[in-house]
């Protein structure tokens, strides 16, 4: 379980998150949705300790994450835009990450590498990869160590339909295996397909947290996209 308590983040004068309280259940897929700049990526990066909160705390499995780097061995992260050292080959990058995690994982999960057919790209330097293929490498790394928690920031945004369905199937499969998955997305059909829980974020505050069905029911709309749109309009007024 991941718990965020009274979490605030400012960039200069801009308040990105306003004392957020949130607990994310284990074994579920939780989607964070909201307009651009609502603070979705900020929450994900705070959980990884990539950025530091101004106030509040984060606990993972009841342990505070500050000054503890080891908890990240249980996390796989897929950034919205990944860029790797451009002179290295795909193979080298995978070797490097494995080497860095050596002794800190139980098993390797190379299913995505096979399904994305990344082996044919192994000897290419990263600078010669297409955006979509870079994102496939990014996804493969997130799932590689079979981590307990998967944090995916707009995972399918730059993938083609085939790759996108492969990834979504993998996400579902990992959930069945008991993994906890947190993702952000703008694609509501995807959220509806994958997520058990939805967190709707607006201007740094949580507007709704609960099940996908609950949200649709509450707004009386026919699907998630319309429900979210209704909530956004409601918030504007």
């Amino acid at each position: 379980m991941i718990q965020l308590s009274d979490l605030s983040k400012r960039y200069g004068k801009l308040q990105v998150l306003k004392s957020i309280d949130l607990s994310i259940d284990s074994g579920k897929i939780t989607a964070i949705v909201g307009p651009n700049g609502a603070g979705k990526t900020t929450i994900l990066k705070l959980i990884l300790d990539l950025i530091k909160a101004n106030e509040g705390s984060i606990r993972i499995d009841d342990k505070r994450i500050e000054n503890d780097f080891k908890y990240r061995q249980h996390i796989g992260y897929m950034a919205q835009i990944a860029r790797f050292p451009e002179n290295l080959t795909v193979k080298k990058i995978l070797t490097m990450i494995k080497d860095l995690r050596e002794g800190r994982y139980k098993m390797l999960d190379e299913e995505l590498i096979h399904q994305f057919d990344l082996k044919s790209e192994f000897d290419k330097q990263v600078k010669n990869l297409s955006g979509g293929n870079t994102q496939k490498v990014n996804a493969s790394i997130a799932f590689l160590f079979s981590p307990k928690y998967l944090i995916l920031d707009e995972p399918t945004a730059s993938l083609d339909p085939i790759a996108s369905s492969i990834l979504k199937d993998k996400i579902k499969k990992e959930k069945e295996a008991g993994k906890t998955i947190i993702l952000s997305s703008h694609i509501m059909s995807e959220v509806e397909e994958l997520a058990d829980e939805v967190i709707f974020l607006l201007e740094g505050s949580i507007y709704y947290q609960g099940s996908t069905e609950g949200l649709i029911e509450e707004t009386g709309e026919e699907n998630l996209e319309r429900s979210i749109a209704q909530m956004m309009r409601g918030a504007e007024q």
């Binding site: 960039y11 990066k45 990884l48 300790d49 990539l50 950025i51 530091k52 780097f69 080891k70 908890y71 990240r72 061995q73 996390i75 992260y77 950034a79 835009i81 990944a82 860029r83 790797f84 050292p85 451009e86 002179n87 290295l88 080298k92 490097m96 990450i97 080497d99 860095l100 995690r101 800190r104 790394i141």
Partner: protein, 264 residues
């Protein structure tokens, strides 16, 4: 922790060894030194000519290449930070992985011509060692300074403007300011304040160190002359070495502190 530093160092070196700029840097020193030898200079003469090249080019190259490299590897740093690695391990792995290839490139470019020409004659190599030592110190200093700037300024245009400005300041403007100061306050005893000024410019420190080593008072700048008069050669060299050491430690210390708390 040491194991993580070594791993990051290893991959960083592999990455930077592919860089064309590093080859260019090595060739630059090689061709220039080799050229000076061929023009008939002996070891000491070549070292004297190379002195100004080393104290100007090494800082310029290190500060620009260092900051460019760091700006370009922002996403890579982010990727590594999502792994179970301590931030401080990453910090040191990157610093060493960047500065040691530069040290090696410089050593190779400068050293090979000396090896080819000087070893036959059994000439006095002390000027070469002084040059090499100073170049290595300047590399560690200016990679550290570029690191600090690249961490401090997120905007790379501002960062690059800052590193070029800083280099200009140390290499050119600083001496002008010191001279201006001397001119303005020529009625006062200025020797001690001047000594203080020198400490704040690593390029000046390296220049003084080399001039004291080469023992060429005719070429000595005002600050160098004051230095020698005040401390004598040996103490002067010891002090400037210590100050250069501080120039490695202090910027890196600030960079580390900033790095530990930075948002990526």
């Amino acid at each position: 922790m040491r194991r993580d530093i070594a791993k990051i160092f290893k991959y960083e070196v592999q990455n930077i060894l592919h860089s064309k700029w590093l080859i260019f840097y090595t060739l630059f020193f090689f061709l220039l030194t080799e050229g000076l030898f061929r023009l008939g200079g002996g070891v000491t003469k070549t070292s004297m000519s190379m002195m100004n090249v080393v104290i100007i080019v090494v800082p310029l190259f290190c500060i620009i290449l260092g900051s460019m490299y760091l700006y370009n590897s922002r996403e890579f740093i982010q990727l590594l930070l999502t792994q179970p690695i301590q931030r401080s391990s990453l910090f040191w792995g990157i610093y060493l992985g960047l500065s040691i290839p530069l040290v090696l490139a410089f050593t190779l470019g400068l050293g090979v011509p000396y090896l080819m020409h000087a070893l036959q004659g059994g000439q006095d190599m002390s000027s070469f060692w002084a040059l090499l030592g100073n170049g290595v110190l300047l590399t560690f200093i200016f990679v550290g300074v570029s690191y600090l700037i690249a961490i401090w300024f997120d905007d790379r245009i501002r960062g690059l403007a800052m590193v070029i400005g800083l280099w200009l300041f140390f290499a050119v403007i600083y001496d002008g300011l010191v001279l201006f100061f001397i001119y303005m306050f020529s009625d006062y005893p200025l020797e001690k304040p001047i000594l203080g000024f020198v400490i704040f410019n690593p390029i000046d420190l390296a220049r003084i160190l080399l001039l004291l080593k080469f023992d060429i008072s005719a070429l000595m700048s005002y600050t160098g002359a004051v230095f020698e008069k005040f401390f004598g050669s040996n103490l002067g060299m010891g002090l400037s070495l210590a100050a250069l050491g501080l120039w490695i430690i202090v910027p890196l210390g600030f960079a580390l502190r900033k790095f530990m708390h930075k948002d990526f």
